[in-house]
């Protein structure tokens, strides 16, 4: 059962061949077995999930209509608000926070009759690239439990790779879906900014955050997109569908793009590990074999993406996280001397190091006298990066490059060197600054048997095309079919 993809499971349930209750029970069996090792979830909802599964089975048996994800057990990152369970953002400051509303994507999952298994671990407030910044628990990579699953959506990626759910939703501000998908050998899509509602996604960098699927294969990502994409009146930045219509992403998925024009940016990606380079070159060869025309392009401003990102994202974060002050909800310090101490002590006690670092960076960048030099400058760089992509897409259908310079690194390897950690997002960050969609698909296993990801980028709102291009590669390879043998270890 756990070998099925989300699409296969869905089809089986819809056809009455498989009961959702059995699939859901199987998932929880695996969770009981492997979760103590992997640590993907902050909370699980077995009772609720079984109830939903039974309900779906009953409706299917009765011939009643069901949603697109009927009976499919899915996970969501713990920064999406739910009225059931806590919404923690893996932070002590929200450890016991219960949201009074569901995020729009959660409503959509429920309306599609998905079975929500649990809420998955992440770097605190989505700040990090290894999930080691979680204030609540540790998640490991199912391929090698001594390594990180990537981040910040490390929990959802580990859950999908470890088959502790059939698909998941993550969020991506600078690579947080694509990089863990790459590290865990699965598929992760960051949709165009505005394609999926952010309402109910706890904000980190509002102008960069985007929710997207993390799945076993490209078709599952298309299926998830069919459920979550679209305009939301509650999110002013979500795109009007008259401007950019949402389509059925599954419909033409298997149709290859004819006369595909692929661009590569060798100068920019030269710093990647040898194994990663090799995987990229093989991918290029494959596309050429499929008839694609591959050209080298230059994108001169990509080198400044990380610098611009860490100004913009932290500036927005410093403001977005101001509300966690101990006054209205969340952790409050005991015995404050005055209301200033309610703020300063509550925040000092409950925020982790990386969150504090980014709040300070962002506060500094927005301070009067520095605004022009940092924030305004970063916005200018952002515009230049955007035009780099706009120009590039005049000459090509997609750009391919690595997802990350390395495969999954060792737990603890980079925690003491934030800059080194920031650099692991070098290939993903520009995509968020430009607002374009990007996908990570598995394209190799390195000599340590660790997955390598291939990143494909497309113009805004070209998710349908992007998925078809990814599917062209996937059809010819079987990297997406590789599953890790999870070595059960005893964590404390």
């Amino acid at each position: 059962m756990e070998q099925l993809s989300a699409n296969q499971l869905r089809d089986g349930i819809a056809a009455g061949r498989i009961r959702s209750l059995d699939a859901t029970k199987a998932v929880f069996e695996r969770i009981r077995k492997f979760e103590p090792t992997i640590g993907a979830y902050i909370s699980t909802f077995e009772e609720l999930a079984l109830e939903k599964a039974a309900d779906v089975d009953q409706r299917i048996a009765a011939g009643d209509p069901v949603g697109q994800l009927a009976g499919v057990p899915v996970a969501i990152k713990d920064n999406m608000c739910t009225t059931f369970g806590a919404t923690t953002c893996a932070s002590k400051i929200l450890e016991n926070f219960h949201a009074p509303y569901n995020a729009t994507v959660v409503e959509k999952l429920l309306a599609a009759d998905a079975v929500i298994v649990g809420k998955a671990n992440m770097d605190e407030f989505a700040m990090g690239s290894s999930t080691e910044n979680s204030g609540l628990k540790r998640t490991v990579n199912p391929w090698d439990t001594s390594r990180v699953p990537g981040g910040s959506s490390g929990g959802p990626a580990a859950a999908v790779a470890g088959r502790l759910c059939f698909a998941a939703l993550g969020s991506d501000t600078g690579g947080s879906i694509r990089q863990p998908a790459s590290f865990c050998g699965i598929v992760g899509l960051k949709p165009t900014y505005g394609r999926v509602s952010r309402y109910g996604l706890v904000a980190y960098g509002s102008s960069l955050d985007q929710i997207g699927p993390i799945t076993q294969n490209v078709a599952d990502t298309a299926l998830m997109m069919n459920v979550i994409a679209g305009h939301d009146p509650a999110d002013s930045t979500s795109i009007d569908e008259t401007i950019a219509p949402v389509c059925d992403y599954l419909k033409k998925l298997d149709e290859p793009i004819e006369k595909l024009r692929v661009a590569i940016v060798p100068q920019f990606t030269a710093g990647a590990d040898e194994q990663v380079q090799k995987a990229l070159n093989e991918a290029i060869d494959l596309y050429m074999k499929l008839g694609a025309e591959v050209t080298e392009i230059d994108m001169p401003h990509l080198d400044y993406a990380i610098a611009a990102y860490y100004v913009i994202a932290t500036a927005e974060a410093s403001s977005n996280l101001a509300r966690y002050d101990g006054v209205h909800y969340g952790h409050r310090t005991e015995n404050p001397a005055d209301y200033i101490e309610v703020y300063s002590k509550s925040r000092a006690e409950a925020f982790g190091e990386e969150v504090k670092r980014r709040i300070m960076l962002g506060t500094y960048a927005l301070s009067s006298g520095y605004y022009d030099a940092y924030y305004l400058k970063a916005l200018k760089v952002r515009n230049l990066i955007r035009s780099d992509f706009t120009e590039a897409f005049e000459k090509c259908d997609c750009i391919i490059m690595p997802v990350a310079p390395t495969t999954a690194f060792k737990i603890g390897e980079k925690v003491d060197d934030p800059l080194q950690m920031y650099l692991s997002d070098i290939y993903t960050i520009a995509v968020n600054l430009a607002g374009i969609p990007g996908i990570s698909i598995p394209c190799e296993l390195d000599e340590n048997n660790l997955p390598v990801g291939l990143q494909i980028l497309a113009p805004t709102f070209a998710e349908d095309k992007l998925l078809r291009i990814a599917r062209m590669f996937e059809k010819e390879t079987d990297w997406h079919k590789k599953k890790p043998d999870i070595e059960i270890t005893n964590h404390d």
Binding site: P100, Y199, S236, T237, S319, D325, L366, S367
Partner: protein
């Protein structure tokens, strides 16, 4: 004091609460006096993950006001976050407009006591969300009521163009009348719909040299009285301080003071204006507002002649007193009612009197608006015409008006039903008068003799005519006929 001349200089920052049904960025009702924290939702509570959605009506009200203030209207604006920590501000930032206010470079004309008017410059007008309220009535801790959080506020900043407490008060009152006229705010001072923060200092000439005193900002005044008095108080206090210490703008810092209503004095709140760093930056959760020509034209349709202009026109064109014109233009509905009545061609002064003396009195007794009285302006105009034509007496207009309110019938019918119609038909009156003269030869004699009894006798005869006609004779016409007959 010899050799010292001075002038007070005041600029005003005004917050006006717009009367939209729902809040600025969520669907919660804007409602005064509801149970604490009962008009809130995840958005205005600033819960994790929520996003604001702009209230279009609030934007239109704000633009309409900016148009009335003769501002340059920005066709492109955006929202900014203004950061500061305070328990009544759940996100710890306020959504506001920083460098692109929706209106700028305007002016407001205010009436002066002299009868002249003065133009005060408007620096900017922008829209923002209100904060909640901290309540300090629970003993050891404070409570926060977030019902007000997210209420749309229009902030208006004037140039420092005012030179007395009276002028500042006049501007505040004129602005109140204007926003009510435009229908964008109830501007109820008791409910905190208008809040004022004057910036005050003095320009002093002493021994031929010019000095400026340090600027004082008085926070959060919510009555016209406190506003005027705080300016007057500061005028004196700053003069005394200057004469005492010689402190000037260059030496002193801008300070913040509060108004103590009981002591009738301003009280120092912050010695140094702390270098507030609000860390403004563009609100990423909202898209910029692009005002199209078409949209602006639609908003402009709601623009009307402003109350002060109207008041002055009533005085000029209809010879109404300034007071009456002021009463008529205190409220848009009254003024519009008056204008509608005028369209029939009835006499403005008469309509004004009926409306202000009787109509508003009845409306006030019933706590009704003028349009809730159930009278059409045309009916009021007919009543005015009846009085002017002598069909009923001025005093009879009151019971007719009251009956109109009660029954909704037209004045002609009511005057008849109430037997209040006057006879102005000269022929008919002549017959009655002839009769009275014949019946009262002595009185006629007294009148004709012209002695001291003459005036009294004349009154007696007119009284007899009124009696015979059961009060329905037009006294003016009757006395004219009498005079003619008695020479």
């Amino acid at each position: 004091m010899h050799g010292v001349e001075y002038k007070v200089i005041v600029g005003l920052e005004i917050h006006v609460q717009l009367c939209t049904k729902s809040k600025m960025f969520c669907g919660c009702a804007v409602e005064f006096g509801a149970a604490p924290n009962s008009r809130v939702c995840p958005v205005c509570l600033g819960m994790p993950g929520v996003l604001p959605v702009m209230n279009k009506q609030a934007y239109e009200y704000a633009v309409l006001t900016a148009l009335a203030l003769d501002c340059r209207i920005a066709m492109f604006t955006k929202w900014d976050r203004k950061s500061y920590y305070y328990p009544d501000l759940p996100k710890n930032y306020q959504i506001s407009q920083y460098d692109l206010p929706l209106g700028a470079d305007g002016l407001i004309e205010i009436p002066l006591e002299s009868g002249q008017t003065k133009k005060v410059g408007i620096i900017r007008a922008h829209l923002e969300e209100d904060a909640g309220k901290n309540l300090h009535t629970a003993g050891n801790y404070s409570q926060v009521d977030l019902n007000r959080t997210g209420t749309p506020l229009l902030e208006i900043v004037t140039e420092p163009d005012m030179n007395s407490g009276a002028e500042v008060r006049a501007l505040a009152i004129e602005l109140q009348r204007m926003v009510r006229f435009l229908g964008v705010s109830e501007a109820d001072m008791q409910k905190g719909h208008m809040r004022f923060e004057p910036n005050i200092n003095l320009a002093i000439t002493k021994d031929g040299k010019e000095y400026r005193t340090p600027i004082v900002e008085v926070k959060n005044l919510n009555s016209f009285r406190a506003l005027e008095r705080s300016v007057n108080y500061e005028e004196q206090r700053q003069l005394d301080e200057f004469l005492d210490t010689g402190v000037t703008l260059e030496m002193g810092n801008k300070t913040t003071r509060g108004w103590d209503d009981e002591r009738e004095a301003t009280v120092l709140q912050r010695e140094k204006e702390e270098a507030h760093d609000y860390r403004y930056f563009p609100e990423p959760d909202l898209v910029p507002v692009v005002l199209t020509e078409g949209w602006l034209d639609d908003i402009r349709l709601s623009l009307c002649e402003l109350p002060l202009k109207r008041q002055m026109r009533y005085v000029r064109e209809f010879q109404l007193s300034d007071y009456d014109a002021g009463v008529l233009t205190a409220d848009r509905s009254i003024s519009d009612f008056f204008e509608q009545a005028l369209k029939t061609g009835a006499e403005p002064k008469r309509i004004c009197n009926l409306l202000t003396q009787t109509g508003l009195k009845i409306a006030k007794e019933k706590s009704f608006g003028i349009n809730e009285l159930g009278i059409k302006p045309q009916s009021l105009a007919r009543l005015a015409e009846m009085v002017d034509a002598g069909q009923i007496s001025a005093s009879s207009s009151v019971p007719v008006f009251e009956a109109m309110v009660q029954t909704g019938k037209e004045p002609e019918i009511l005057a008849q039903e109430l037997n209040l119609l006057q006879t102005s038909d000269a022929g008919e009156l002549e017959k009655v008068i002839d009769h009275v003269l014949a019946e009262n030869p002595n009185a006629v004699e007294d009148v004709i003799s012209g002695g001291k009894k003459s005036k009294k006798a004349r009154g007696f005869l007119l009284g007899q005519v009124m009696q015979k006609t059961k009060g329905q004779a037009n006294p003016k016409v009757a006395s004219e006929i009498l005079a003619k007959k008695l020479g």
